[in-house]
């Protein structure tokens, strides 16, 4: 059963959160004053296009991992498939690069 393998994952989540709550409840050192202005409204980031390409490109991995597992047992056909897939993705990166998307704004 797959679920049983993840029991330890859930348990570690609970333990870490519990330990943090415990620490927050018990550990009360003196305050270090911090007088700084709020910063939420100073917004601008220079990598908008990188971020958008990343959103789309991130999905490539979920296709690549199952493929990598079965690749050796299928052989050439799988290689050809992935070659086409990688060619398509490379075209995307090349386009972004050519259009000047991979630049800091």
């Amino acid at each position: 059963m797959i679920v049983n393998a993840y029991a330890i994952v859930g348990l570690i989540c609970l333990v870490i959160v519990g330990l943090a709550l415990l620490a927050a409840a018990l550990w009360h050192p003196g305050l270090r004053p911090l007088q700084v202005p709020a910063a939420w409204n100073n917004y601008r980031f220079g990598y908008a296009v990188y971020a958008l390409i990343f959103l789309a490109f991130d999905m490539e991995m979920i296709f690549m991992y199952p493929w990598a597992v079965v690749f050796a047992s299928i052989g050439f056909e799988a290689f050809a498939d992935m070659f086409v897939f990688i060619a398509i993705l490379s075209a995307g990166i090349a386009y972004a690069w050519g259009m000047g998307g991979l630049e800091w704004e």
């Binding site: 959103l55 991130d58 999905m59 979920i62």
Partner: protein
């Protein structure tokens, strides 16, 4: 299988309802995009629940769910790009500011 299929489907239905609320009630286009993600996610949950309980031997459902997530990601990328364009032109992404986009 202690938890019945219906329990998962109910969670999916509640998520779907919240997604509908978010899509209808939010003014910011990004929030509407997020509502759509919730809708897609509710669909994915239903698909996987039915896969597990009705056809656990056929992994097609997982492929469909992967495709749904892919579509969600691409939709997010293109949607945000459109909003960035609108924002650079008009300084707002609130949907009621774009009356003239109606046909």
């Amino acid at each position: 299988m202690i938890i019945p299929l219906t329990a998962y489907l109910i969670v999916g239905a509640v998520l779907f309802a919240i997604g509908i609320y978010a899509v209808l009630a939010q003014r910011s286009a990004v929030m509407i995009l997020m509502g759509i993600e919730v809708l897609l996610n509710a669909i994915g949950l239903n698909l996987i629940a039915f896969w597990r309980f009705v056809r656990p031997d056929d992994y097609s459902a997982q492929i469909f769910t992967i495709l749904i997530v892919t579509i969600g990601a691409v939709e997010m990328a293109v949607g945000l790009a459109i909003m960035l364009l609108l924002y650079r032109n008009r300084q707002t992404v609130q949907v009621d500011a774009y009356e003239e986009l109606h046909g």
